[in-house]
Every structure is written in structure tokens, then in C-alpha cells.
Amino acid sequence: MPLIASALAGAAIMTPVLVVMWRSFTSGKLGFTVGLNLTNYLRVFGDKDILPMLSNSVVYAAGSALLGTVLGAFLAWIVARTNTPGKALVELLPLYPILMPPIMKNIAWILLLAPRSGILNGMLQHFFGIETLVFNAFTMAGMVWVFGLACVPLGYLFLLPVFLSFDPSLEESAYIAGSKPVNTMFKITFPLAIPAFTSALVLNFLRGLRSFETPVLQGTPGNIKVFVSRVYDSMALEFNTGLATAYSVVLVVLSVITLYFYIRATRFSERYATITGKGYRVKVIDIGPWKYLTFLAVFLYFLAGIVLPFIVLIVVSMIPYFDYDTFMQFPSNAVLTNYYTVMRHPSFVTGLYNSLILSVTIAIVTVLAGIVMAFTIYRTRAAGAKVFEFIGTLPLAFPPLVLSVGLLIIFIGTPLYNSLWALGIGLFVAYLPYAFRNASGSIVNIHKELDEAAWVHGARWRHVFFKITLPILKPSVGGALFYIFIEAIRNVDVAVLLTAPGKEYGPVTLFEYFRVGQWAEAAAGGVIYLIILIVAVSVAKFAFKMKFSL
């Protein structure tokens, strides 16, 4: 039984993956196939833009990863090791990515940084008379800035435990040897944090390669093409599945290479075992007058990285329409018309409803499927169960957009096409790896004798699963359910190709609003999602006692 369930889940993952591979070697439009050939690849590699595109993809991903990870590591060090005043502001950082959907970040920053209509350029002109358009969201720098900020929490979360659980005797022995605190920082503390830093950096790079919103909303208008936006264009504008899948395969190859380095980096950091499990608290270092500088850094990050986008979104959602002058008149012109408009707009209301229903359903289904798969691999003697270990991890190498390309090709001509099922399956495939990896991590940690004790005292697999495994997994199941719900409810990159009239998905509707210039409506819709997320976090925190910091 568990084997059958796992096989079904495995098939759901493998089909789009194989379809993308196979389709990339055939020519012809949607659904029709004209023989096996290399036409698509010839076009991909014959494209004179291929090299700029490759370099754009790498520069964008590497730039954001570097900016975000360095900033995150710096903040983690400030919080863990210095006496900087006001560092409590940073301790809320893990909450921020949960509350702010990626698409809302992009919208907020475009409103701030757009060259002509943007708020910041307007202010420069208004207050300082600077006519040149200093800021431009639609450049590589703009993209790196916005996605780089999105990379900060991960860098912070990876490095904070390193700085917190650092064995103090490593530093103390440097002091005894005559090294001063600052020297010790640079010679001992930072070098020992390199493995965790590398892991975070590579993971952020991978996220950059896969990211959808920034390349499409900022890159495309500025004519900066990366692979993800090219896949989207080939699929959404040209309807050329062959070309879309060929670009996808190139992207997948890049992802696989990155994933390989990520696995290497994490293994390296495991070997670099300087951090022991002992629960000592490291000493906070008095950095003297430098603490005002670090305070400034913390304050600026808090303001620019977190508060500003929120304020912009809320203000823009409450003004009649968006331009600089209307924006500056706030709050005298505050209205709620944008909210009325979106709440009367069928595509938003249906989308909101669908995203709520689907993300709850998908969270439950994927978490259960992930546990069943992990259970099959680690807890049954089913032949070939190890295959699922590979299959369950595979989608990590496939950017979500690519998975939905594969699914779309499969669905065309079936009753699933343009149905909510299509959306559901897409989200399931995209989030199953997270559920699976979470479950296998926890299941491996449950002592095997707990299962065996049930076996010898008369339990069948279903008793073991429902009475032993599932109850023991309860705490981590709660976390996984919440995480997948939060991720699914604001998903754009899986849903964008799989929505259809009448089968909208909320975040995709916002994405479309924004693309057609209904910026104020997009902001209003975004604030509605913000409220939903705040409610979800509060429920998780107070009703289920979930923790959001370390």
C-alpha cells in the first residue's frame, strides 16, 4: 500500500520531467510532434542572445546571492556577537519573508525605483531638483538589489546558529596567543563561518536561477533576458513548446550543476565540525564606537529592506491611482476604492478563493505524500524503495516554471487542461520535495526500534504508520504544513502557465494587474494577501505555538 501511494506520487513528478526532456528534442507546435530532431537546440544555441542571456542569468543570480548572503551574514554576526543597540529589530528577520510574498516585493520596489514614475526619482527631482533619473528598477542593478534583499533572510538563518553556538575556547585560545578581538574576528571567527556561508551563497544562487517574478517584471521591460523569462516568453507569447522545453533543459543543466556544488558545500561544512552541540552562549563583544556604525547598518536595512516596501504598498493601495503627485498627497486623498474594485473583480475574487482552497489542500496532500514516501523508503522493505529518494529530490533541480511547462504539455487535449486539477497537480509536484525532505529528515531521526517494537507486538504497516510514525512526527508535520501553505498561497511561477479564465490563481491575477499597469489595484490585492498571511502567522504562533525565530 505505501508503495503504491509513493509510486503514484513518483509518477506525478517523473511525467513532467520526462515530457520536458522528450519534448525538447521534437519540433512542432503545441501537442503535435514532428519527429526527433535537434531543431530546438539549434535555435537555442544559434540565438545570438544566448551568450548575453547566459551571462545575465549568472550575473543576476550570483550578484543577488552575494549581496543577500553577505548582508545576511553581517546581520547575523551583529545580532549574535556585538553589543549593537537596537539589534532586536533584526531578530524579527525570519518573519519577514513569510509575511511578504515575492511578487509584492517586486511591485513595491518597482513603484519606488521605476525610472519615470518611480517615487524615489520623483523625490530627488522634487526636493533636490535632480533631473537625471538616478534609480531604475529595470536594470541589472535594480534586479540584483530587489532579489538580493530577498536573499538576506536565508544568509541570516544559515549563519546565525554558527555565530551563536561557536565554541568560545577557539577564540579564547587566540586571545591567549596574543590576538586582539578584531584580529581574532577576522582570523578565527569569520574563516570558521565560511562553510555555512558557502552553503547559503550557493543556495541563494540556485534560488536566483529559478526565480521568476524579478526577471519577468523587471528584466523583461528593461530588455534583460535570463533563461527563466525566455522560457516564459516562448511558452506564454510564442506558444512554442519545443523552444520552451529546450531553454528549460539548459536551465535545468545549470541548476543541476549548482545543486551539485550545494551538496558538496554542505558536506564540506559537516566535515568542518568546529561547532559542538554543547549549549554554551557565546560572549557578546564590545565593539566600542563601531557599534554606532553597526546600528546604522541595522537601522538602514530595517528601513530600506523591510519597512519601506510595506509602507509603499499600503499607501499605493489607498490612493485613487498611482503617480508621484497622487502618492505625495497621501493621506489627504485616502480612499478604499481600489479594495472595492478588486473585491468586485471576478478574476481576483475567484483567484483569492482558489488560492486559499488549493494551498490548504495542497499543504495537506503534499505533507501526507511526503511522509508516505519517506516511510516507504526508510521503514518498509518494499523493493526498489530507494528510487523514491532520487525522485522525491529531483524537482529541486527543476525550476517550478519548467515543471509547469511539462505539465501544461501533458494536460493539453485532456479534461485536466484549464481545470483546477491542473493547478493543484502543478503545486503538488513543486512542493512535494520540501514535504518529502522534511519528512525523511524527521523519520530518520525516529529510532527504528520504536517501529520494530510495534511490529513484534502485533502491528501491521497501517498501525505503525498511523499510531506510531504520524503521532511522533506531529511537531514537524505542523511546520511543514504551515510552510507549504505559505509558499503555495503566493505562488506565481507554477500557477502562471496553468491558470485559465474562471480558474484564476490570486497571486497570478496580481501579476497580471501589474503587467497591464493597474498598479494601485495590484497593491490593494497585495495588501489583502498580506492580511491573510498575518492572520496565518498569528494563528500558527498563538494557536499552535509555532516559533519563528531561533
Binding site: E449, E452, W455, V456, H457, G458, A459, I472, K474
Partner: protein, 367 residues
Amino acid sequence: MAILKVEGLSKFYKDVKALDNVSFEFDQGILSFLGPSGCGKTTLLRSIAGLEVPDTGSISIADKIQTSIERGILVPPYSRAIGFVFQSYALWPHMTVFGNVAFGLKLRKKSEEEIKRKVMSTLDLVGLQGRELRYPSQLSGGQQQRVALARSLALEPRLILLDEPLSNLDAKLREEMRVELKKLIKKVGISALYVTHDQDEAFTISDAVVVMDGGKILQYGTPDEIYNRPLHPFVAAFVGHAALVDGRVVRIEGDNCLVNVPDFNGADLISLAPKVVAAGDTCKVVIRTTEVKLSHDGFPKGTDNVLEGLMTSREYRGGLTDHRVQIGSKELVVTSHKLCPMIRVNGDGGKTFVSIDRSSISVIVTH
């Protein structure tokens, strides 16, 4: 009727032989599997429980075949009706003591009233009355152990398997628990298989002992047989305080035999003869060093096996003392109790006479 019959059991992990053609029968009482880690004793126990699938062989419990690779029979663990106490106890952390003990009874669809009665009487039996609403993490190690035992006993199995059940307890508690465990098993009247690497534990708790090494059974006998008549040099070395030296049988004299030991300056030792022996056989001579006598002045004529040696050092261990005596090329470590009248030596060293009674020597023929 044998409660347990194992025939031709083998199991390989890649190149390592965990079990090598193991066969034995067991009727009733408590049987220990004794051996160093990696000797295959736990694999054997887990195969009997059905938690491991052997590569060849068969297992019957109460004359019903449970595992037979040749005939393709493999009764799953949940249908074997046995008890199993795990090394880690494996108490389910999300269930109370009551929940843990009631688990198997619930699966057997007993009435609520019967479950309650059975759980309570079993907890009474193991001395845990009043603790039924605690969670495992709120209990001490010894109490957790009792819960693990109660969980198996509540199902009234005919055979209970225990995998190093006392190894997680501290030394003092371990000694108390093994006496109590034995009493309890005898009181309930079921048969038990007991895996351990501690020979004291095996000897105190069991009616019979199986000594294993390298996946093979080396000897199967009562504790007394294992200690006094080891059939294999490894058994002799593993179970007792014994010195092993190489020898050659010179001749047989009735119940006794004479063995030449080159290491002891070529001395001939007299010992009880093993069952099958011939002059000229090479052998291992096992000397139980707690039974050796020492004297500075020599022994009366007619004393068995008097050897002359040099005491090099003594190690004081409280009630016991180790004496290191160099005899020929071999150092003998003789342990004595402080009240032992057989050790009449003082001072730190010098010429020392050693006497070994023939009953303190076992001869194991190696050909």
C-alpha cells in the same frame, strides 16, 4: 516439544558473515546468547523475531514454522506472538505507560474492560502500579525497562526475546535488575532468549548459554559446563579469567592426561582428559587463574602441577590482588582474594612456586 528450533541459519551483510549455518534447539527456561559485539547474537535474535530475513535456514517456534527460506515461508513479526524487549526499550514517547502496554492488546481487539484489567495486573507484576498515566520520559531508566517488559508480558507470549535489555542501566542497577528479571520470567513461566555480551549477566540469569563468535555457535551448555569445560579456546578466553598456553598431549592415564607445555620451560602438566584425545594431539591448555595457588616456600609432595616462577609485580585491587608471575616465557596473572589461604606470599617479588589443581585445567584439542 521444542519451543524454538533453528536450523541452518545463515545471513550475509555484503562480505561479512553475520550468521554462519547456525542450528540449535531450545526447550524451556532462559537461554542466553553470549559473545562479543559483531558475533551475530543480535542478528540471530532479530531473525527469530522476524525483523531480519536470513539468507538460508529455518526457524520454528512451538513447532510452527516461522521462517523457512527454502520453503518460502516468512511469517511477519506481527503474527509471531512473541515478546521483544529492545536495547533502547523503544517505548513510544507519545503514549502513556498505559498506552504502551495496552497497544498490542488493542490490536488484538480485546474488550476495554479486559485491556484495563490486563494492563493493570501486568504493571502490578513489574512493580509499576500507580505509574500508568506517566509518559516514558517521566520515568527513570529502570522504570522504562519495566514498562518495556510489561508491554511484552501483557500479550502473554510463550517466548520473550530480550536484546541486551540491561545495557543502558548503571552498574549497580544492572545487578539488581538481572536478579529481578530472572525472578519475574520464572514467575510468569515463559521461555526467554537473552542477548548479552556480559558473561556474569549470562551466567546469573540463564539456564543455558550459547557462546557465539564470527556468526557461529561455539558452545551450547549450562553455565557450569561453559565455565568448567570450555570446548573452544575462544569460549575459555571469553567467559572466565583464564590463561591460554599451547601444549601437546604426552600420554593418557585413565581419566587424566599429561600435557607438555613448551612455554613453561617444557613442564608436563597433569589435567582431566577431554572426551576425545590421543597422545600426540596439539592442544590449548586453559588455566583458570582464580584457582591457582602461590607460595614462596614450595608445596608438599604430591601436589598437582608445581611450577617455579618469578613474581614480577603485584597490583592491589582492594579485596582482590593480581600477582604477575613469570613462568618460562609466559606471564601468569593470578588473582587472589585477601582472605584466600592458598596464597602465601608477601613482599614484592622473588622466587615463587605455583600450583595448579588438575580440575582447574581444561585441555582443548586443536590437532
